[in-house]
Amino acid sequence: MAQPLVKKDDDRDDEEYSPFLGIEKGAVLQEARVFNDPQLDARRCSQVITKLLYLLNQGETFTKVEATEVFFSVTKLFQSRDIGLRRMVYLIIKELSPSADEVIIVTSSLMKDMNSKTDMYRANAIRVLCRITDGTLLTQIERYLKQAIVDKNPVVASAALVSGIHLLQTNPEIVKRWSNEVQEAVQSRAALVQFHALALLHQIRQNDRLAVSKLVTSLTRGTVRSPLAQCLLIRYTSQVIRESGNAQAGDRPFYDYLEACLRHKAEMVILEAARAITELHGVTPRELTPAITVLQLFLSSSKPVLRFAAVAMTHPVPVTNCNIDMESLISDQNRSIATLAITTLLKTGNESSVDRLMKQITNFMSDIADEFKIVVVEAIRSLCLKFPLKFRALMNFLSNILREEGGFEYKKAIVDSIVILIRDIPDAKESGLLHLCEFIEDCEFTYLSTQILHFLGIEGPKTSDPSKYIRYIYNRVHLENATVRASAVSTLAKFGAMVDSLKPRVFILLRRCLFDSDDEVRDRATLYLNTLGGDGSVVETDNDVKDFLFGSLDVPLVNLETSLKNYEASEEPFDINSVPKEVKSQPLAEKKAQSKKPTGLGAPPTGPASTVAAYETLLSSIPEFSNFGKLFKSSAPVELTEPETEYAVNVVKHIFDSHVVFQYNCTNTIPEQLLEDVIVVVDASEAEEFSEVASRSLRSLPYDTPGQTFLAFEKPEGVPAVGKFTNLLRFIVKEVDPTTGEAEEDGVEDEYQLEDLEVVAADYILKVPVFNFKNAWDSMGADFERVDEYGLGPRENLTEAVNAVINLLGMQPCEGTEVVASNSRSHTCVLSGVYIGNVKVLVRLLFGIDSSSKEVAMKLTVRSEDGAVSDAIHEIVASG
């Protein structure tokens, strides 16, 4: 490269000139030819490698041909004796990550280095080989790697151990054979070797609880030489504590070790131990105290990382003692800490602190990036659902930030939150809808505008004064792009169809849309005018028409999309009845990837209501079940198999008025098998009131693709019948060739025993929250009130008793009363729900515990709209 003329004493220019100025891939690849020189210039070669590294580190990529060419030239450099160059060669080979057929060129050189007398050649050769090796080569070098793990030189040992951690992902069988050597390395005097060995040994043995427990027991008593290893050990210890499930206060295993770590000299270890203690299951205040003390110290540390870690750790437990320290962090210089402090306070704070917090947040929002604002918005959304009475302040906050500048994701998060609040808090509906209307008046995101218009179409007509939304909607027809205009036309039509008094005026507006410049907008307007009866008369729209225009499509959208793509334009029109209605089972990975967060507008919400809707669609698409009437409740999936067994089966109980449908979700976890004609055979001899009426088998269950089979039972109408069912999975199994993925022709019939399933009283009660329990209780009145007292026997503490009753009744705890203050001797819990037959039920539970005998007594007061239902609730408790 041409060097510009620079005077040596001219420091400024010197500073500004980059050695890589004007670097260009083609030129560097040309320069790489020096690697082929018979007389190697080590210095020059190193410089060229540096340039290659610079290109790679900037995100530049080499084509296959370029990479191969460079790789082959680089291998020539093994001839050089220059140590600096050799080190560079190791690095660039790793960076180029050659393909399997090229690796062979360097294998012999690297194998030679691996047996070299120079330790550092050994260490580096191990790392390079492990990076580029495949299974077959690994078996050849395994012997050397095992030796290297116990090598005297810590660098060699570490290189082999870290390689082991990587190789465990690809060749677990081989690495597992090294456990004796790794075990020896755990005892190494070199701090880092011990750290790496501990990590590897734990990974090798992670599925063997006993071995992990032994490892932890021996190391917590022995010497751990580095803070990093100590942190690992603390993590493994908490895992052992969790799995041992011994929640007996006072003699919790390893607590003393964790507590001793709080006095370690490394901050990292102290924080890790504090985290482990705060996350202990059923931690007592006495156990928590020392951890809280150190966390409080760290909250005011001068180092941001420590402050951040301390705030993050107060997340899992309501550590209210720290709240005061944390409020000062809202003004922390480091905005990430401030964000975390705010969201923590929002989660742990009580209702009275909401207003004060909101004020502080308002000042702070303008300082942070969109990503962090989204976190705050999500925290506010859950806060609002927790304290619904505070919705005014929170909704105002959301609408204010909605008006400010922000990117799409941020705006979407706000809109989603408002939508969820409108859905869940009836009082928030009207103000929320108006905020959304105002937002679409000046919204730059087409996606959000169309989604809001759609939502307005559903919710708007149900409000007290639907006409006030029309102006906002019709404005869209004038001011927006075609997509939004088309949505607005649909929304207008919905108002027209649902609100008869508005119909004539809506039709006038729709007629104006007939002159729109866009086809879709005109088409929609024409369709609506014709089907809704555009003569302007005030008549009720036919239900069939409403269904046709605004009802759900009745077929899964994915199926519709596929069918439309496969449809070839011809004389024959597309027939929607040809679209298959069966929901194609999703691959497992996709299901796992689905977000658990509540979604607002976009996808169908994943909240309980929508799950029911999804189940409803699924069940109604099966002809055998289509006449069962309205689905009352679907339970959460109940696992019928242990985790990590060959077949994973869980069941969802769908309750109808006079039927119960079991939906068995089956997953085949064996790649070499294909299951066919899968059905669950049920013995209902312990469920006398149930008789089997229909079943639907699963035709094929390939590996890792869940599928469903169904069984339906009849039961007496409206009666909460209970019973126990034994289940047996029956199927035909066919071998699958793993290389081709093809199954054999013939299969063998086989069976697999599943766990029993019970239908219990709680299955007949829907969890339906009320937002002001006292109001609901008072307005329900005492007409059908039933009161009785029960002894619940000795219990560990009140929390256990409260949870047991909540689970037994399957009702929704209200106003956070399911949480019992620690050490309290009495507690009131209020529940609400809907009993089968759509009868509202409210329950007030009063608990008391005797401090010496631990006997728990409970007073149960039930109010409902029907005396028989109040009695039934008492019966459930009495027989539970």
Partner: protein, 147 residues
């Protein structure tokens, strides 16, 4: 897993970018997110003062050293505490190679050495070496002194 180690100059241009286990299509997003994070927060920050952030269950610890800003991104066991250890090793190794908190020019002059140091410190997402003196010897293929 240490997902990324990134060095940028004061204008936000990338000097070194090493990802582990991050899909290629997400890298650009991370690059711009980190650079923006630095632009928003690093002004006026003292050398080696650590800043921290967390985004989508991923932790980020970052700092300034001379003209260069350094970002380390991790998840799972590499939380903010472990990352602060990682970045401490990186900053001390870079200072050691450059002899002082580097100017951009000095950093680029020592580019090859710095790459070797990074290779010794982070290996495919795992922390391997933590002492600057040992690293200094290792990049010259010399065995550690305590051995």
């Amino acid at each position: 897993m240490i997902l990324a180690v990134l060095f940028a100059n004061s204008e936000g241009n990338i000097l070194v970018e090493r990802f582990n286990g991050v899909p290629a299509e997400e890298r650009l997003h991370w690059r711009s997110f980190l650079v923006k994070l630095g632009a928003d927060n690093l002004r006026g920050v003292k050398n080696e003062e650590l800043l921290v952030a967390c985004h989508k269950s991923v932790y980020i610890v970052y700092t300034v050293l001379g003209d260069v800003s350094i970002y380390v991104v991790g998840k799972d066991e590499y939380d903010e505490l472990a990352l602060s250890e990682v970045i401490f090793v990186i900053t001390s190794a870079v200072k050691d190679v450059c002899g002082k908190p580097p100017t951009e020019r000095l950093f680029l002059d020592k580019y090859g050495r710095i790459c070797l140091c990074l290779d010794e410190i982070v290996w495919k997402g795992l922390l391997e070496n933590t002492e600057k003196d040992r690293i200094k010897r290792l990049i010259r293929l010399k065995p550690p002194t305590e051995f």
